[in-house]
Symmetry: C2
Subunit: 156 residues, 2 copies
């Protein structure tokens, strides 16, 4: 009897170990849907000029890496960064196109391309094409931007 119970427990144990791994394993379709939903929220927040909302999409200890500038650390500093880009550079819209997402546990990383529409006051309107890598982290019940780095695509 004890032997049978142990054998059954061993099978259970295997099943639980597998279930434990499945929770941490890649699930490409659903993670991509989650990330794309968060990207739509980012686009909408920028279009609305809602810097608070933009900031809320980052983790509290996120780092942003704007070109030609130092690292920007933490949600508050990142809010100021986007506030400045919207105000001073006239950022009107961002369009994000996810190329690829892979998940590893509570982290995921996305590669993508984006177009920024800039209409600076008194300056000429322009579009900037960039490519990016975002490390996403599951925090407070949703996927949030944890590392955000981008650079320019070639000039056309």
């Amino acid at each position: 009897m004890t032997g049978q119970v142990l054998a059954r427990s061993a099978r259970l144990l295997g099943a639980v170990a597998l279930a434990g791994c499945a929770m941490l394993s890649p699930d490409r379709a659903s993670i991509r849907t989650d990330i794309e939903r968060a990207n739509r929220a980012f686009e909408q927040a920028v279009a609305a000029g809602d810097v608070e909302r933009v900031g809320s999409l980052y983790t509290s200890d996120a780092i942003a890496f704007p070109p030609d500038a130092p690292m920007v650390r933490g949600r508050d500093a990142i809010k100021q960064l986007w506030g400045g880009v919207i105000r001073d550079m006239g950022l009107k819209t961002v369009t994000l196109r996810t190329v690829d997402v892979e998940r590893a546990g509570h982290t995921a990383y996305e590669t993508g391309e984006a177009t920024l529409r800039l209409e600076p006051r008194g300056g000429q309107a322009s579009s900037a094409a960039i490519k990016y890598v975002v490390v996403w982290k599951r925090a407070d019940g949703q996927w949030r931007i944890h590392r955000d780095i981008w650079n320019a695509m070639p000039a056309r």
Copy 2:
């Protein structure tokens, strides 16, 4: 008896589930050591002009994101990228400074800063300061660069 065995099995099960998660959980000290060792190999390969060795530090399906250029996909294309930077831009040395590494399963992401020493033939020698995010992936028994993106620090 059966009850005791089940209780003990339940404890075991918990222990095994924990052990399973520990294998995938962050281990900051050792992952940072591994990544820094790989970075030293990168520096040495660049200093030696050994493009094959540079390429071997990337996964076969890695993507590099050089500024002002499209994404560069796959180890062979990345070898050509670095070959071009060494030959045409006169890249002599890269010095990588890891700021932070976090691990999630068989993936890790690193943030850092780097200095590139450029001595183009017939041109003026210069240094370029950059910041970067690298997504590392455990492949073929070692940590390899899977996503590699950087951009400029502010001009001094």
